[in-house]
Symmetry: D3
Subunit: 323 residues, 6 copies
């Protein structure tokens, strides 16, 4: 009764201000759940994979709803960026040690393990735990992916690099953008500007090649590319490097942003889905681009789009009402 | 105590997911009422016509609110199309026969009859009823319009063509887009693509001329033209062919879409309004373009714009706050 | 225990239809508070100034919430303009006479007085009161600003010009757009179109120079420039003339409009803030442009942006989530 | 095409604070419509009568929704009474004169006229108009009812008595409680306490007999009796005196109050309904008691109960879920 | 990997009018899920049992949310009963045949099967299926319960009795009130009134004894007793007959009703829980009384109370805030 | 520019589940602010006192709204108690030391200081700070009150008694119920039951006399008495002992509970108000009873009742709509 995919990390109660309000302006907050690995697990399950999410919960209402902390979200518009504040210190997950779970048993009956760089960033204890989990994978017949996902509020670049230098040698599919590669692995493209605004396909190729060169275990490197026309209207594209060819997806232009949180997690879920299905990298990347583009059109962290909708968008043009 | 306009068809309770949510994601649904002929009747009444809506209602809360079924709406954004699912099978209207109403008495004191192609599509019984209603118009001094409004979930093109071939000979103002003309009447423009995305003014002229040629009774043919820049930003234009000249309205560029359902019904209502007032086709078309453009700026099926606002928009440029 | 800034005028309970609904369509209205001078006072206080708002309140729930009237707001989209209706006749403020407040005492311990042209427009009594308040400033060491803010529903151009001709001689910083200058002071640029749509930097310079020529006391003239791409997407820029140089701010392109009410009041608050801090006119103008651009991204009359956010936007480019 | 019932008076937009909030505490207000005569007309129409409501509307959104003013409602609980503040001064109805309507034509094809004492209280002009309307009834074959409905915020007892002394001689069915009879007609029961809290069946009989003695034209006198157990739990009963017998309804004990506004209007509508149907006074009163008891179980001014539900409650006991 | 409990039946999308509104009055409806067997399964799982719910779903949004139909709910107050209308005709479950599931395999690894009388009432096909499922239990080592749950809108007493006469011989724990026993099994107590309002402990004992006498397989008979003080204030008690002794729970007086739907399903879940845990009947009944009393204090069909809360209420008195 | 009252303590963002939902059931939470000393300060200010609230805030949105933590509230009904969970660990206030504020300067120009027992319970550091603040009062001409307010989740009885033994010698008006006196001061009445449910006037007198005997500085001892009829219907009464006489207020029977949080804080505010106004203890107590009874009729921590309403309730009986 094994799993196609297992993810390991923290999920939080998400409290979002409605209607583009500032948090202190709102008189009610919308409640949902989010967290990088939880998002990937939910999305993969919605796509049809048999999926497990491994975490540690508090025994109160927030734990019953699913949580180890809270995060407060404000959706921005125009020049106002969306803003997230976390209330996740001292969470149950952050004190978790490797011996609390029989990882070897779990991983033996699982086909793929995915973790994001947020999990080791939550505490030194957890960084050790993540490392042990990845080490266990080398004793099992299991594929692995890791989304670098750098968070400056959780750790510094030196701390991130120290931990990731030990983790990445166990990773087969590595996900991250230019900033992630620099902050988490110290790999920097030559033309990178200070705010990563010039992020383009060429720079990224340079970074991805360097990563594959440095870590022989890496089979693929992927990322999403967002170009903001206005605060709520973005262009969207994804990239997947298979060690030989660079696959660049169709460009989704003028994508309306209902909620941008979770776009990257949708990319991860779709890449895992495609590769588990045995699709070619190019096909996997196009599917992941469509699926993650759709993720922006729903409020909340998770992607409510179906497999069929993503496939349809891959080929579509206009946007008629489907009656 | 006659009517300026009578429409005949079904209305439904509309249950819409708020804030661009997926239906299964929403924890409350917004309730309103909609239905092609009901929309036309409400809009025409708001413009000032004395209007009747003829239908058949269920005797429960939904009937008291106005209904013969439900429809569930999800507003899309970006690449996600808006999605409508119907729960209207076995409705009261679909079992309606012509002898339930004294049509001759009703139509004798009415100046204009409007029906959409959804009504005959609801059941074979109803298709017969619609035909009898139209036949009755030939015995009364009454003008008629018909919006082809093809719905692939209700009938197939052959079924639609069989019914419409008998109905259209009684119609004076025919409304429909390229797809409607092909599916409902078998009239197809040469350059039409598979998904009607290349829909343009030239192709449409070809189709409209063919319709007038085939049915001598038709005095006018009209349609709306929507070009999607992004999911929520469209260009909008209307066309009216009076058998001789093609009238093409001003193009509303960058029209923000708050709710696109009911745009065509607003066009129908305004065309009827203008022609009943004795306006010239060009003027009627410009008014209908402005009025139906405004319809997109309100949530819900019906158009809350006033006559004065539509007239003002016909001449306006910017979008200042009117204080 | 003096004040940095005092403003004098009316505030109202704002009842706004949610989700772009028409007022008569809405089944609940969102309650907040707004009013030109109240907005300026609140914004200045949020920026860090010690601020007083002088007004007169009714002794009922609306007064307890803050009010002298109501205003009903409908947010437009596309070709539908936002619409405001006022229910402020016979308000407490409109009957206010100068002897109800010891203005000399109050103004002696205040550094800046700001009033908008709405206050004298509310009633002839109030116009006299405003004049007396400004006359009192000449006996105190206090700086003054006045936002012309013409409101055609409150008075006619001749009435406005008669009152303003007596008020403006006491003003040091004058705020207003082309329409304000023509309607309130009779100063008109040569190229001005009928609907002020061609409003550009050149025309405005002509008007501002004329104002400074006519009233020797004026030290600065400022305005905001809005160019609507679509109903909800504007370009935004501000101008400040210091009697010698014209300072034109960076242009905020593709600014998404969550709520456009109060943009001008944010400009006033930021100009006052900068000048009180002793900043140069160019710097003040850039800050005011950024701060008033941000004001459009929050629902409600007031600007929830912080000083730090405005400074950050002055230099920023993209719109990433700030985590 | 006559009417069973016509009522004449003002309706207002009702803005109610949700969830027992204080008005200044609420951040959204619930919008509906209410007004004594409008309530009676709506209820009578829902019961199945052909009903007209005569009024005068403002040409703005509030008029389009139905209005001549606003009222603000706060629902109380426990020792906190519900509180209503009116914003109806200078309304369109209050300036209405009798010559604006062809009353004789209207009343000739109507079977029953109902007005409440609020209408003449709105302005001296309107008091004259009401008197003229009632005088016209003496030239038509029409039945009349009048609900005294004393409102201390609109006029004083002497003013009310002067106007009512001229109106009541045209009334056949008079509705009012002890306080109404004292304030509006100067008829006072002997045992009445200062706050009318001892209001009982005996006292009321004394008052009703006196009214019938004084005005020979009165055929019936009716009222509702409310006894508050707690703020939200009342006992409810109605009385109808037919000039000979006193009919006292079944007592509804422990009636939960969802919204108490409009209970009296429901009684009026049901009494008119019963008498128009030719029912005996006792039966009419029992029906009116059940129907007005049900009115308390819906939010809003109007009674959403059906005729069938009222009949069922007349005989019922428990309160099972009807599946 | 077996189950403690399996239930089999339909669940629906529940659309409830908020704030005691009438359905046609509401402008939004609250969405949740409900259905007798689904409720029992969810509650049992929340109590800690490993639970399965067997059903058949439609492949659209309602099926993805969980459904085979809709039900519309109006919460009553005072004399207005709560009202439920169903929109469940032709549902997926109602066409389900026994061969669609490998019942023998499923039931072999399950400890308890529970079905309610609604399932066989949905269609003759389904009645056959339910019978076959119960017949299969006789080949497995599994305990069974059946909640008679008579629904007059789904079948008549003769139809119900015909089906139940074949089903009940396989049932060990039978749940139902006096009305259920009469309508479903033809067992009637002597003193029963027409509307079952005199439902008391004595009458019920008579009925329960008769059931056990007629069906030798029945080990226990249970029911809930509700006495309405007012519409929203009930007394609540439960009964469990173990074939020898009658266990009558503590009486919960003055129980406030937030939502009464699902009270009986909570009783079923708790009885199953207690008996599976090996508790004595008296203890099981007290627990079920407390747990089902708590169910009334939450909106929605399911019981959000925890095991710990139910145990605490069994012994508690007052209602302090637990901080 | 002194203050009538200063309070010192923490306030939190209150996130409450709407409509009696369980927290994990709610999809939006209502946001407001609460905290014992903040509540007292707000209420006293609304009554007309010049009031200061001294605290320490976090520099994020929660601090801008007012906060040092969060609390999550679930309103109970029937046997389900209301439930509060706190998320206030490591808050800004809890690390506050006495030297952060110039207490002597502040207290010299203040007439009354009020603190609750929650403040010293938040951390040992804060207990020291509170003690120093009270010690400072002995050097100023200032009156003091202290609400024992025992919270078992913050400290144990021995910890509470150790701190309070040093604080109470500086207190003039001591507020607390039987449980508070036992847990905080070790004073226990003879007849007290385990759950304080038998809490009556006699027992309390014993405790209050003992407190005054033990601490010579105490001039008054007061408390509120709540008797729950049902979860949402309580009887309410207050007591004030002036060292000689026991003043027992009128009993508010059948008080409906919209929100019971903050009832005690309303009592404190009203007692301080009455004594500052120089009222006699009996009068003060009656006012405090009425004012705190009204507090239960508003959602939220604070009391939206006015002085005038409280006075009116002191003499009133029924609960008519005040129009």
């Amino acid at each position: 009764m094994g799993y196609d995919l297992m993810t390991f990390g923290e999920a939080m109660v998400r409290l979002a201000a409605p209607s583009y309000m500032r948090l202190e302006q709102a008189r009610s907050l919308d409640v949902s759940v989010g967290g990088a690995e939880w998002n990937v697990a939910v999305n993969a399950a919605r796509l049809g994979l048999k999926t497990a999410w491994c975490s540690r919960l508090v025994d109160n209402w927030a734990g019953r709803l699913i949580r180890n902390g809270f995060y407060h979200l404000e959706l921005g518009a125009g020049p106002r960026p969306s803003s997230v504040t976390y209330d996740r210190g001292h969470s149950a997950v952050s004190q978790m040690t490797a011996d609390m779970v029989d990882w070897k048993a779990l991983l033996s009956e699982t086909r793929w393990l995915h973790i994001s760089g947020i999990t080791p960033a939550l505490s030194p204890t957890l960084a050790e735990t993540v490392l042990e989990v990845f080490q266990t994978t080398s004793q099992c017949n299991i594929r692995t992916s890791y989304d670098l996902n750098y968070r400056g509020k959780l750790w510094t670049p030196p701390q991130a690099q120290q931990a990731n230098a030990r983790i990445v040698p166990f990773v087969q599919v590595l996900i991250g953008n230019e900033e992630d590669f620099e902050k988490c692995l110290g790999i920097r493209a030559q033309g990178t500007g200070k705010d990563y605004s010039a992020l383009g396909v060429e720079n990224y190729q340079q970074v991805a090649r360097e990563a594959v060169k440095r870590f022989a275990n890496i089979r693929m490197v992927g990322t999403t590319l967002r170009q903001a026309r206005t605060g709520l209207l973005n262009d969207w594209q994804t990239l997947l490097y298979d060690g030989q060819a660079f696959h660049v997806s169709r460009r989704y232009e003028g994508l309306e942003i209902i909620d941008r949180v979770g776009g990257g997690d949708s990319f991860s879920a779709a890449v895992i889905y495609g590769l588990l299905k045995g699709w070619a990298p190019a096909e996997t990347n196009e599917f992941a681009a469509a699926y993650s583009a759709l993720a922006h059109t729903f409020p909340g962290d998770i992607n409510w789009a179906t497999y069929e909708e993503a496939v349809k968008v891959m080929g579509a043009r206009g946007a008629r009402i489907s009656r």
